[in-house]
């Protein structure tokens, strides 16, 4: 999907205005909106119903009777709940939690609109019922949303579990690498630093791994296939890690793994398993029948007392370069 040439969002003026520099497909996927036709109509229905009811049943007040402060306050409540519905629809795939959140917010929106129009409209006795029920939908909406938020919490716990090997104990979405969706080197540096600070005697290991002849592959099959390969390889790396470990993309075709509370031997063992797993993957570039196999070179280092993130990264990088040079010399 990401590789497709067609980009429906490229021309979208709205999101260009809202979200500055990056292209929208990165920040905001409007294609999700198309999957929410039903929920979209629920929100629209709530808006139109409340507007027609409140405006249709009342008569306009004299300008002097309108309290502008109340107007601003209640107007912003209505507008913001509308905005929240929009953001929910563009950021979440369809499902139970999304439905509950949108329906809850729509009820709330209904009351907010009644409240707002109330400020400029005057109601006859026949319509007093309307102002009486004004607050009921909002109460129901709040209840639905509370339920939905609890479900969201449960969902988040599951998602966190899915992200486990990609993410350590903090979330920084702007440090996620565009190609592999792993975290970048910057995130790894912070994680190594916190490992170094948290324990008096550091007992963690770091592995750096690098694909052999990645440049050659890029030249032969094109850079899009190279990016594709990086994505696939990052999945395989994750598959071979334990739930406590962390994988990040370092730079280019280099990945870095963090193994907390792990000695050098175990780290090397896991890296060896990754190497074996990747050597057995028959990657098929360009949907052709041809298979390309890939080999890794890796280097491992354990933290020593008094280490800094830069020094451990430097050691493991140098060792990897040494191995690569050695491999080169022997063909």
């Amino acid at each position: 999907m990401l590789l497709s040439q067609y980009d429906p969002c490229a021309e979208c003026k709205v999101c260009q205005h809202i979200f500055g520099p990056y292209d929208m497909r990165i920040n905001m996927n409007l294609s999700l909106l198309a999957q929410h036709q039903r929920l979209f109509s629920v929100a629209c229905a709530s808006l139109t119903l409340s507007l027609t009811l409140s405006i249709g049943l009342g008569q306009a007040k004299a300008l002097a009777d309108i309290s502008w402060l109340d107007m601003i306050g209640e107007g912003s409540v209505a507008l913001l709940s509308l905005a929240w519905i929009f953001f929910l629809l563009v950021s979440r795939p369809p499902g139970r939690v999304t439905s509950a959140l949108v329906i809850g917010l729509s009820c709330f929106l209904f009351s907010a609109v009644l409240d707002l129009v109330d400020e400029v409209m005057f109601y006859e006795h026949t319509a007093t019922g309307l102002s009486m029920i004004e607050s009921i939908p909002s109460g129901i909406g709040m209840l639905i949303m509370s339920y939905a938020l609890y479900q969201w919490h449960q969902e988040q716990l599951i998602l966190n579990k899915q992200l486990q090997k990609r993410e350590s104990n903090s979330r920084e979405h702007d440090q996620v690498d565009f190609i592999t969706a792993l975290y970048s080197a910057e995130y790894m540096r912070t994680q190594i630093d916190s490992q170094l600070q948290n324990s008096s005697s550091p007992g963690f290991s770091v592995v750096m791994l690098d694909i052999n002849n990645f440049d050659l592959f890029n030249r032969q099959y094109g850079h899009d296939q190279g990016d594709h390969l990086l994505r696939e390889l990052s999945d395989i790396i994750l598959m071979n890690l334990r739930s406590t470990d962390l994988a990040c993309r370092y730079a280019g075709d280099r990945f870095i793994l963090l193994f907390p509370d792990t000695d050098l031997r175990t780290a090397e063992q896991i890296a060896e398993q990754i190497k074996l797993a990747i050597a057995n993957i028959a990657f098929k570039p360009n949907q052709s029948g041809e298979s390309v196999y890939h080999h890794l070179t890796f280097a491992a280092e354990s933290a020593i007392t008094g280490d800094a993130s830069d020094s451990i990264l430097q050691r493991v990088n140098r060792r990897l370069d040494m191995f690569k040079q050695h491999g080169q010399a022997h063909g």
């Binding site: 990401l2 980009d7 490229a10 260009q16 520099p21 990056y22 292209d23 929208m24 497909r25 990165i26 690498d177 565009f178 970048s184 080197a185 910057e186 440049d215 890029n218 850079h223 899009d224 990016d227 370092y250 730079a251 280019g252 075709d253 280099r254 990264l313 430097q314 990088n317 140098r318 370069d321 040079q325 080169q328």
Partner: protein, 337 residues
Amino acid sequence: MDKLSFFSIDDKVIPAHQLAASLLDFSRSRQVNKHKVLRGTGIFNEDVISERKLSARQLLQLMNNARSLTPGNDCAFLLGKRLFPGTYGAVSNALTHSRNLADAFRILAQVRSQICPFLTVNRYSTENSQYWVITDAVGCEEQFQFVAELYCTALVSAVKLLLGQRIPFQFNFPFARPKYIQEYEVHLGHRLAFSQPVMSISFDKKWLSTRCVNHSDSLKWYALRQCRHVTMPKLGFLEAIRTVISQHHQYGLQKVAEHFAMSTSSFKRKLKQHGYSFQQLQDEVGKQQAIYLLQVQQLTNEESASMMQFSDIPNFRRSVKRWTGLTPSQLRLTTQS
């Protein structure tokens, strides 16, 4: 020096189907809106599939857009990897079929402006190593770091392609150590220094005799013949002025302007378009030579002063201090690796 032998930042002399096309391809692969990446450049999407030529300023603006619109910090590095052999045709062929690295660098010196119009390379040689001083040829200003990253990566990956193995280069950059140091380490290697007085690249001379994998004298001869048909001027404007200054130390602004057949005021105006003043260029040339003579060659004050056409030593010491912030003896102590 006749008027046609240099190009200024606004001269449209760089073929659009080369670097501009790679920049656009790369931005597209990162899902950047093509209208946004071309904004303010005066380049059109059709240009990259035509014979149109662009100015250095247009390309620098395009680089700036691509750098800020693509996610991550690896734009220059990944582009650098794609630069060679790329779409440079005869130039790439001539380099690919050169005999050894020394031969390839000799060809590069001849055709450099066709493949790298932004940076000047002044090659020096010491007993054991080759030492290249890199300067801004056309006025890259804020894009200098991007340009440096781009062409340094291109150098490393092109040499690897020519020789079939990676050779160690030492890079000295004038800018501060960036946060995304990992890109430098992976693409350029670990011999890096930042915040240096001049930008330089050095490497062991022993590599010069390494044979190229695809050497062929006849193919190289033919490619070189084709290269001659290209009418790209050899020197950038700033580069041309530096050449004149370093050959004639005593020349002032007026003399140099005369050399380019310009009036003093139009010469100054043109310099300003490139973001430089005459004094700045004079100081730069002085700084470069002082660093080379004192720091790299380890010559004495007397030898260096006479090489730089200074008549008295105190004046020489004062100038060195002004250019580099260090006295000649301090400069000799801070040896280059």
